[in-house]
Amino acid sequence: MHAETEILFRDSASKALLDPQLRANFRRAMDGLITKRRNQFPDPADLQDLRDLSTAIRSRSLLSLPELLEQFEANCTKNGIQVHWAETCEQANELILGILRSKNAKTLVKGKSMVSEEMHLNAFLESKGIEALESDLGEYIIQLDGETPSHIIMPAIHKNKDQIARQFSQKIKDAKYTEDVDELTAMARKVLREKFLHADAGLSGVNFAVAETGTLCLVENEGNGRMSTHVPPLHIAVMGLEKVVACLEDVAPLYAILTRSATGQAVSTYFNLISGPRGTDEKDGPREVHLVILDNGRSRIYADPQLRATLRCIRCGACMNHCPVYTRIGGHAYEATYPGPIGKILTPQMEGVGVRHDLIHGSSLCGACAEVCPVEIPIPEILVRLRREATHEDVGSNVIGRGTGRTATEDWAWRLWGGVLKRPALYRVATWFATRLGKALPAGAPLIKNWTRTRSKPVPARRSLSERMRAEGGSNE
């Protein structure tokens, strides 16, 4: 059975390739990030040690995830953080709406959160009459244009300075046109400061959730995370259920490798440890802190021993920075919340391997992603596993849409391929014809046509290696 509405990555990627400005913006930005990361890891052995440690911490955390989540919830509750669980994005959105309405909140100021993007929270709240304003500069820029993030940590990376200058002069009230980065930043800052002061509620994501202490860790560079979580009277945090680690000691190495892998920074400008609402003797901080823990397919991924590695991800974005495909098309072409290599394995697991079959094949399996991943997620291996799941129902897994990417044509092609190659006599006949016909082989077949879009037609040699070795005799037993 074929998936009903397969989303064709090839189409959106081809469209992105036609935009030279977009391609130039990404190539320049990714080159910069690659260099900055490399400079943070001068010693390959030290890097490998830190990767091993980080991988071990994430793997160990996942191994006891159910217990850690229970402990985390208990300690959050003890700290005065009200914990809510959501199986789906719809439930998470409704929970947040309920919390906001209970406080009669009409405006929400947001720190950066990819889980809230996953939930399409902004659109949901707008439809309920609540203003949700992004306060991360990149998120603010794309929100002005009604766009989604094109990168998980640098959401507006698809735009260059000139594009942002034009956009600000058109969309921000009383703004004059300038290409000066400091002036542009000051413009956004002025708007946002007002919003922080008057917002009824703030929302943030969570980078690490510490079970032992019931602490929410938030990594950021602009101070907007701290403003969103400390100035408004109500703070709501959202996180995927995989984010928990056992203790504060676990956070240090993960934080060290996160910022270095992501932006090439040894430390971020801000690192917030949120451990509850304002105490009775305290003069600042929110009066209420809520935490929404989202599943949205994660527990299904968790149940599979191989696919579970997907959940080790600490969302640094290094895989996309180093991906030869992402670098050329940017994040929007993936038509998903999480773009790039991690998105290529996460999205099909969340939405179904049939509808995302083309995305799973949108990789040359070059392995650049796995090489830089700070928690050593074997992305190419998982891609191959998902390709298998997409075309086979009987792998014995719980993957959504398994077998629905299967087509009669591809089935037939691989059966023919195997039928010839497992029979050396048949292969010998086939190569005999291929070498004799050479240039006369048809160029119009669909796959050959795809090849020759940018390449000359491959022409077999006049005699195959096997034939030449047979003629030579001696070496064969």
Binding site: L17, G362, S364, C366, G367, L386, N450, R453, V459
Partner: protein, 243 residues
């Protein structure tokens, strides 16, 4: 006398037999007896990568059976060697013949790996001065784990200057079926690689892998560039054997 098996791989068999012959000659030149069993087809990687593991296993089984003796198996390809060495154990995990396949995988080497790490060959350059560039195959480095063996061999040649690519470790865009399933992205990657190679001013691009060769050569030819990619085995043999 040391004895090895040679596995040609389907791309070398059909498109680059000279590279295969050169690989065999290099081994012989180093004093090794080369056995080339009949019945070689393909390592099975295309089907494996596309998720058709039953078909891949059927083919892989017939190939493993061709190499019964406890001898090293040498391939003029990092990608196919990676398939046989690293991915066969995955492919046969839990199968009745897993142990036999694992024993086979342990004997697999890519050609330059064997020349440098096992034979420790010393090459004498007999050629004219030439400038070359090097394209590193993703699977040779990241799957199989080559650690600069090809470059070390090139470095032994006194009259060869190696001009590096700007993006030596970036994929050339081949990726097997990726090249025809995603021809637009693949095509752009290939054109970038070709342009990078042209910008070095080298007169030849060298690589370990037939897939990269087929892809980048096809791209260079389509844009009517005089530059070509040559298999490293062929280049080394041309430079070192007395005519």
């Amino acid at each position: 006398m040391r004895e090895v098996y040679f596995y040609g791989t389907c791309l070398v068999d059909l498109f680059f037999p000279d590279a295969g012959m050169a690989g065999i000659q290099l081994l012989r030149q180093a004093g090794v007896k080369v056995v080339f069993p009949e019945g070689q087809t393909c390592c099975g990687q295309p089907a494996f990568n596309c998720g058709y593991w039953e078909e891949a296993r059927d083919v892989a089984r017939t190939q493993v059976a061709l190499f019964p003796k406890d001898l090293p198996v040498i391939l003029p390809s990092g990608s196919c060697a990676g398939m046989m060495k690293v991915h066969y154990p995955e492919l046969f995990h839990g199968q009745p013949d897993e142990a036999r396949v694992r024993a086979f995988s342990a004997r697999v080497y890519e050609l330059t790996q064997f020349l440098v790490d096992v034979l420790d060959v010393k090459l004498e350059d007999l050629g004219e001065p030439v400038k070359v560039t090097w394209h590193s195959s993703c699977h040779a480095v990241r799957d199989l784990g080559l650690k600069g063996e090809p470059q070390a061999l090139i470095g032994q040649l006194a009259n060869v200057e190696l001009a590096p690519l700007t993006r030596e470790h970036e994929c050339c865009g081949f990726g097997g079926t990726f090249s025809v399933r995603q021809p637009e992205i693949s095509g752009v990657m290939s054109c970038d690689k070709a342009a990078d190679a042209e910008a070095t001013g080298a007169s030849v691009v060298l690589s370990t892998d037939g897939g990269c060769l087929l892809n980048v050569n096809g791209t260079l030819e389509a844009k009517q560039s005089p530059l070509r990619v040559q298999h490293i085995a062929e280049f080394l043999w041309e430079r070192t054997h007395a005519r």
